[in-house]
């Protein structure tokens, strides 16, 4: 190494090993390829976190279908229960510890069994249930009973 520029060029050329043609040899060509490679590395360190998460989600979705739910509903219930596992661990369990995953999935689904059953009821009957909620006061309940009776009359007709 005789000149100062050789030190800096050597750094870049070391990074460009395995590139095609002049890009692994010639500084003026390789610096362009190395710029692109470094920016892609920076980007993909962020993308890596996203792509692994999508993989875990796809795997959990596949595993949870066998218990009668899909990923979106399962996660909605799961996050309310306070089990601390993240998606990475759930996906690992689904693959390598199926019995443990089964325990988690059945527990989650059973805690929200009433919600799932309510989804199966058609909308009109669901409205009847909604009207008679416990959060209403007695006066409000009495008022709403009028509407409930009207709905019942309509279905009978």
């Amino acid at each position: 190494v005789f000149f100062a520029f050789m030190v800096n060029h050597a750094k870049i050329l070391k990074l460009s090993k395995g590139y095609r043609g002049a890009a692994n040899n010639i500084f003026r060509v390789s610096i362009q390829a190395v710029y692109r490679a470094q920016t892609n590395q920076y980007k993909d360190r962020k993308h890596r976190k996203r792509s692994y998460r999508t993989l875990w989600i796809a795997r959990i979705n596949a595993a949870v279908q066998y218990y009668g739910v899909n990923y979106s509903r399962f996660m909605g219930y799961y996050s309310k229960l306070g089990i601390g596992l993240n998606r990475k661990m759930l996906a690992e369990l689904a693959v390598s510890e199926p019995i443990s995953f089964r325990a988690i999935a059945t527990y989650v689904v059973s805690q929200f069994k009433d919600v799932e059953e309510a989804r199966l009821i058609p909308a009109r009957e669901r409205a009847k249930l909604w009207v008679t909620r416990d959060t209403l006061t007695d006066e409000q309940n009495a008022m709403t009973q009028v509407f409930v009776d009207a709905l019942n009359k309509k279905t009978k007709e």
Binding site: L55, V95, I99, A103
Partner: protein
């Protein structure tokens, strides 16, 4: 095949695992491939095709890996009896360009059904696969037959029941299912018995396999048995929704005294004066034999030391 693959993708050139030293996410390329047999009679094209695409991509498996072909084989029969809603048989146009000027061609769906009945489903599935280098190779997992006959009777013993959330396989009405239907065995999911007993075969006098074939069958059974996936045991009722792991009965088929016993039980047994049963797997070492063997080794070593050149006796006549 209705188009030509121009170049094999780099990911498929190697065999088996991606041998680059990178971490592989579980099974990947070596995932077990099931065979699903589907009857497309009176099924809507698009709805059926989306389910088939899911099976072929492998999205019904928790070991799904998008970088690799990890789907299952699907055999579809009676593709000519598939349905399209509304006026699509008349109005839906399949379009392509021949490459020459003014070469835009159109074909309505009814005409496609006349000329190439299986392509109606094939094109639907082809369009639903992710558009990447694995599309061609995933599509090869699908076999579509317009009529009820298929070539895959040898794979019927690998046939698997569809996953429960794939519900499109509606049973046809009983009037359409005569008893002599040759594909009746596909209406209900079915596994062929791998081997009949020798007496039964010889009594019928129909077929006596040779020794080679019998060995082959044994190998198949061995492989099938030892590649079974983990069987999820029947767990007890969770009751109010939780498993009480600590109060479950513990099964102890072996009699070791130092493995998996709870400390309390060990203390109880000791207090009661019960000794653990003798382990049948442990062999009692014969100490006299052992010392004798050691002495022999020492003698041999001393003999070798006394005779410094034991290997000089060579016959030079072979040159």
């Amino acid at each position: 095949f209705f188009f030509v693959m121009l170049r094999t993708p780099r990911c498929m050139v190697g065999k088996g695992f991606i041998a680059t030293g990178k971490r592989v996410l579980h099974e990947g390329n070596k995932a077990k491939r099931n065979w699903y047999f589907i009857d497309a009679k009176e099924q809507v094209v698009g709805r059926l095709a989306s389910q088939i695409a899911k099976l072929i991509i492998g999205k019904h498996k928790p070991t799904f890996d998008p970088s690799v072909v990890c789907g299952d084989n699907v055999v579809v029969t009676n593709a000519k009896d598939v349905t399209l809603t509304r006026n699509q048989w008349k109005r839906k146009l399949y379009r392509w360009h021949t490459g020459y000027p003014g070469g835009l061609r159109e074909m309505p769906a009814w005409r496609m059904k006349e000329r190439f009945p299986e392509r109606v489903l094939e094109k639907a599935v082809w369009g639903m696969l992710p558009k990447n280098k694995l599309r061609y190779h995933r599509f090869k997992l699908l076999r579509v037959y317009p009529e009820g006959e298929h070539n895959h009777h040898a794979q019927l013993n690998k046939a698997a029941p569809l996953p429960p959330h794939f519900k499109f396989h509606a049973k046809p009405k009983e009037g359409l299912l005569p008893k002599d239907d040759p594909m009746a065995h596909l209406r209900e999911f079915y596994v062929v018995k791998i081997q009949q007993s020798e007496d039964a075969i010889r009594a019928d006098g129909i077929y006596i396999p040779s020794i080679k074939e019998e060995k082959k069958r044994e190998k198949q059974i061995h492989r099938y048995v030892h590649r079974r996936p983990v069987q999820v045991q029947d767990l007890p009722d969770f009751g109010e929704y939780f498993v009480d792991v600590h109060n479950e009965p513990v099964k102890r088929p072996y009699g070791f005294d130092d493995v998996d016993l709870v400390h309390e039980e060990v203390a109880e047994n000791r207090a009661a004066g019960i000794e653990p049963p003798a382990d049948p797997r442990r062999e009692e070492v014969d100490e006299a034999l052992f010392h004798k063997h050691q002495a022999e080794i020492k003698e041999n070593a001393e003999a070798v030391d006394q005779d410094p050149t034991p290997r000089e006796k060579k016959n030079d006549d072979n040159d």
